[in-house]
């Protein structure tokens, strides 16, 4: 198999991890909505954690993108 073809296949496979990231982000916001619906007074407290959690999970998505770009443009 040519190196070029292997690179493209590898880059495509690297993006499969984003399924888990989607589940993670959905989890964060669903628990935020659920806890906000039960206890609206707690929303300001939980909001900070929500944004931090979202940024951390999104970072994993970008690590997967980084591997894909690494495979395509560096190797």
């Amino acid at each position: 198999m040519e190196v070029e073809a292997a690179k493209l296949i590898g880059a495509g496979l690297a993006v499969v991890g984003l399924g888990g990231v989607g589940a993670g982000i959905g989890n964060i916001f669903s628990s935020m909505i659920a806890s906000g619906a039960r206890n609206p007074a707690a929303i300001p407290t939980v909001q900070g954690f929500m944004w931090i959690g979202f940024a951390l999970v999104e970072a994993v998505a970008l690590y997967a993108l980084l591997i894909a770009l690494l495979l395509l443009f560096v190797f």
Binding site: E4, A55, F73
Partner: protein, 269 residues
């Protein structure tokens, strides 16, 4: 494409191969061209040297001037009822001061100038990148890794200065059975060393991926014409809004994680 691949295998660094890729891609219109560092001084076609004033340095100076300007001009006359610019300066001060008080506690107050500078530098860099034809200096791993390395080395040094060799007890949390220690300690040490890497990588990847995505979708607008181009245009408008949120969020997350690491060093768990 195969010729480029063979050329890039010969070279060692990511930066060099990215430049080769850009040279062989469509000139000046590829999505990765915006990340190229260009020297603004010196003759055309020179090799980039460390003393050249680059577009990255220019935007760092602009960011610095912006932040310093807002703070100095805003607080020029400290009215009791703040003017608008003074409000901006006071809000930014309070935001970081509250963050430090909530995450580090009382001893964190002496690290306020460092954390404030960190936040303002990253925030200015991310926001300046949203202007058309500008350069995002936080989209280069060398910049973000330098900042993350400073935070990591600084925080570790602070930990050793405060606790001495007792700092190593950080890697064995209290209440852990002794037979688990040989398994747990290497894991804890490894996760401690991935902190600067993840800190740097998160900011770099967010900025690079966001701007690349914007460029790619923007490149679809003109070829699709007036009617078909509405869809990519709406997408780019939405993505720009998302990128503005991400710009602030990534600066906030970088800073708050630095505060958390500082807290770990000051009060071991």
């Amino acid at each position: 494409m195969a010729q480029t691949a063979e050329q890039t295998v010969g070279e060692g660094t990511a930066a060099a191969s990215e430049l080769t890729e850009i040279e062989h891609a469509e000139q000046a219109h590829g999505p990765l061209e915006q990340f190229e560092i260009k020297a603004l001084t010196g003759a055309e076609g020179d090799q980039l040297q460390f003393y050249h004033f680059t577009n990255s340095s220019l935007f760092m100076v602009i960011g610095l001037a912006l932040v310093a300007g807002i703070l100095l001009l805003g607080m020029r006359r400290g009215h009791l009822v703040p003017t608008r610019l003074q409000s901006v300066a006071e809000i930014s001060y309070e935001f970081i001061a509250n963050m430090i008080r909530d995450n580090v506690g009382h001893e964190g107050r002496k690290y306020f100038p460092f954390i404030f500078t960190l936040f303002m530098f990253v925030f200015a860099g991310n926001m300046l990148g949203m202007l058309p034809y500008s350069f995002t200096y936080t989209s280069h791993i060398v910049v973000t890794f330098a900042m993350a390395a400073v935070v990591f080395i600084g925080v570790t040094a602070i930990g050793f200065a405060k606790h001495g060799l007792h700092f190593f007890s950080f890697f064995l949390p209290a209440g852990v059975p002794v037979f688990l220690a040989p398994l747990l300690i290497p894991i804890e040490v490894l996760s401690y060393f991935t902190r600067p890497v993840s800190l740097a990588l998160r900011l770099f990847a967010n900025m690079t991926a966001g701007h690349t995505m914007l460029k790619v979708f923007a490149g679809f607008i003109a070829p699709l014409g007036i009617v078909g181009g509405i869809v990519p245009l709406a997408l780019v408008a939405g993505l720009t809004g998302l990128e503005l949120i991400i710009a602030f969020l990534q600066a906030y997350v970088f800073t708050i994680l630095s505060c958390v690491y500082l807290n770990d060093a000051l009060h071991l768990h």
